[in-house]
Amino acid sequence: MSSMRDRMNRLRGESTKVDIVAEETNIEFKSLAEPDQAEHPDRLSPGWAAFGVELATNETGSFLRRVTRYPMDYRHGLHALQELYAAAPGLAAFHPSEQSAAEQILFLDLETTGLGVGAGNVPFMVGIGYMSKGHFVIEQTLIRHPAEERAMLMYLAEKLQQFSFLSTYNGKTFDWPLVESRFIMNGLGRKMWEPKHLDFLHPARSIWRNTLVSCKLSHVEEERLGIERVDDVPGSLAPQLYFQYLADGNPAPLEGVFKHNETDMLSLASLAIRFGHLLNGNIEAYIPLPDEPEEMVRTGLWLERMGRKELPSQLFDLFMSIQHSKPSTLVKLAARDKKAGNWGRAVLLWQKAIIHSPTHFGPAAHEASIELAMYYEHKLKNYDSALSYVNTAFEHALHQSSLFRADTKRKAELEALRNRIARLRRKALKTI
């Protein structure tokens, strides 16, 4: 045991038991299994070849690389990779006034040593995927130690320039800022590539927020892309496996990380296909119609936000034909209709929202009552009907506040209802 550790343990008041454990791991640690590596960076230990990893070098140094080529007819879950050609133009909706083609998209996913985008979080593996010469190519680079990072980034930097779209899952906040940070850390400059981002986490959240328990990629792909992972190493385990490799030099456990990252890349492509089809308006032709009413509405609303205003009517009509929908979904579409001036359907949706609410009340029914009251008051000038809606809302709100502690928000709500009732009564009196 080093004297430094001895001193540190004493200062921290740690018992000597800890030291014994530490010493055992230390023995293991010292038997670094890739002893050659420092002296012969161009030599690759044989364990890597077992899963197709090769040595790559450039003028800056060396790193490892695995290239996997998938034929176009390869099916990953519901979709075949070649669908990307048809789907890709739709993705231009992410960046209006741009054209997008399958060959321009670079898919990217990192495996990192830590969390967040702090300066000490190192992407030890960079996975990229792209269409090339009739194949979907997945290139995964790995560094055997941090000193190889610069060479790997140089390689990546060169590769990036060939593409104009960057497709990720949460890459806007994580993967891409981290890559940019690594460029800076390695003295490779800032803003060396300014891609048009396609971050699929955002549409995934817009559409599945309430229908899926989680919007994690592994969950989305299982529930919506028909992908089933077998013996997957969870991404959260990747850092530990890599640290273990740094300590013992044994490549074998990293095969699982390569596999996991590769699947992520394929799933990214599948998501691109799905969202591309959606944006192209090819909803029934290539992808199944959503089963859940909530998803239909949310998909429609997302398409509208993406500038595909003509597309959702089919989804909304389908939604209207469903007998039982959640009141919260009904008022969501109603709000959209109100904005669009589609009053007929909006009124219908609000009425449905009240009817479908248990005991005819809840937050959605409350909203619907008030919206209907406003509609009757301002559009139809029918103050009596308006009053009856507000009164119901008020009674329920009052009942509600007697059950729960009245916070300021609730108090303000009740106050607003009282005012509305008073105003409607005045108006009703005048018209008599």
């Binding site: 550790r5 921290r12 530490a22 230390n26 300066a119 941090p146 000193a147």
Partner: protein, 749 residues
Amino acid sequence: MIKKKTLSEIIQELRGNENIINWTEIEPQEAKAKPIPESVDPRIRSALANRGIEQLYTHQYTAYETIRKGENIVAVTPTASGKTMCYNLPVLQAIAEDDSSRALYLFPTKALAQDQKSELNEIISEMGIDIKSFTYDGDTSPAIRTIVRNVGHIVITNPDMLHSAILPHHTKWVSLFSNLKYIVIDELHTYRGVFGSHVANVIRRLKRICHFYGSNPLFICTSATIANPKELAEQLTGSPMRLIDDNGAPRGRKHFVFYNPPIVNKPLNIRKSATVEVNHLARDFLTNKIQTIIFARSRVRVEIILSHIQELVKNEIGTKSIRGYRGGYLPNQRREIEKGLRNGDILGVVSTNALELGVDIGQLQVCIMTGYPGSVASTWQQAGRAGRRHGEALILMVASNTPIDQYIVQNPEYFFDRSPESARINPENLLILVDHVRCAAYELPFKKDEPFGLLEITDILEYLTEERVLTHAGDTFYWANLAFPASEVSLRSAAQENVVIIDQTEAANVKIIGEMDRFSAMTLLHDEAIYLHEGVQHQVEKLDWEHKKAYVRKVDVEYYTDANLAVKLKVLATDRTENKRSSAIHYGDVVVNAMPTLFKKIRLSSFENIGYGPINLPEEELHTSATWIELKEIDPAIETKTQEQLLLGIANVLKHIVPIHVMCDRSDIHVVSQIRAEHTQLPTIFIYDHYPGGIGLAEDVYKRFDEVKEAARKLIRKCPCEDGCPSCIGTEIEGLNVKLMSVQLLSQL
């Protein structure tokens, strides 16, 4: 209605008060000024002219010219002498000349940073130059953060934020670090002890990052008066400094008055409580609508005084206009109090040394200190709160029964002639250093043989590699760990986890009302403790030590609580020894085990003990540095029991003397006596740093023990009591000449 008395009238009345034992008048000083240098941009010049500034005070002038020459400076200036100009002028000038210039301002607290931003933005708007200055702290919204990073010319923050948010994410701050011209460190003197030792390491990290981006900023420091501003600034920044202390600001007349409460128990030499006297003195000022600040040493004392004064003046002025102020209040509460003081809504404030710092509370007329604040520097800082700008001001120091208070008020020359204390830091404390090497390695890899500051740290890098925190490849050590190290390191306190205080008086409205460091919580938030918050008594119903939560409920009782701490000491290694004829002094490593044992309930009105209870908390262990003095020969005629009491008495005196000689808080250094030390069985007095690994205080005592010893002897001899009292050695021992024996024993050490 009775006419209100003016401050001058009250001062006249006070002159006849028999309890006043020293009255020193500090003469007003005329301004010393020089013309604004030619090089200053005309836009800045006209903005200054708009505020009536046509000239610079001498220290401001020298600061500006020295910085322009490319030297780091530390400017020592008393409160309200226009110190901000010392850094704002060169910084604004640099940005006016080159828009790409950047500056980083560090303030010890968020509140000071907010103040500075308002002041700075006022001047900038008058200048008509597009200079963007922002605060960057925990309250800054994410949207603003991006703007601050990319376009902020002046980023105003605190060391904690720099440590945990800025440095670990330096790649987002490229424009700041690439163009950083100036680093401003205000309130330099606050960076001492553990906090200062941490900050010195944060600055080592900051300089490393600047170097990486190719900038080489100058440091501009400002400090209150301390003995070693240049040394401290150089230690903290690792850069050579030019000292600027030619203060040219004008000053009004100040009356500095020492007030010693009358003796109420002659044989025991017990004086009337300082707290009670302060309450009555304060009432006089407050009821005459004279804005007054009252300082007290502890949080508990603040609350006690606050509730008493509120009670005393409740018929004449609203209790809302008398407020408390201390750490543990929530920030918005503090902001509200500061504002109230500035605009006059609040007439009086009772504060801990939290208001010693430059928080802007405007000009107060009277400052009352409940007891000696503990250091000459701190006393001047607190005194500076009165009469910052206008004419006459009164500063009253009311002595308590403690030995040092009595010593100070009875030897006024000690205070007035003495140069203030030195501020000490120990950036090399191993625990602190290793913490920051971890953080630094996270930020940028370390080349083998790369120094940290000027320090050779290969052994630490190797240790961290063994611990699998770093990995070694080629000639470089890289971070290789899942953790985010900055979040595991707190700059402020030895105990990293604070105890949260939860008020559950109303079942429907359970709320957090404050927090407290772990060590203080052991003695202040144990089960059944009476905890005072804003003058309101709360009883601790349950201290959940494991989850660091204290559940309290409002109560109204006639007592407060005071906890006892049992301490065990073991020597681990002796580094230095000096043998004397019949004693020896050593310096080395010790392990201290502390455990709170019981608490007493003390009646508020009479301070008598009215009950007690046990405290059940786990033992805390501390490895630290200590100086200890052992007696190798003892007069066999003295009984063991007497010896024990003599040692206790001397320890009591040292407890008070040592902190003023090494400039630290009383809680930073502890004194413990043992009749038979575990390792030698000899009578021994231990003086140890209350921080793991030590921060250099005990070492300082070792070096200067003769000086400390002399002060202790003088204190005992000069004490007017007959034979021992709480103001010196503690208690009297029946029929013995204890004072003489103590002095003899001290001479033997």
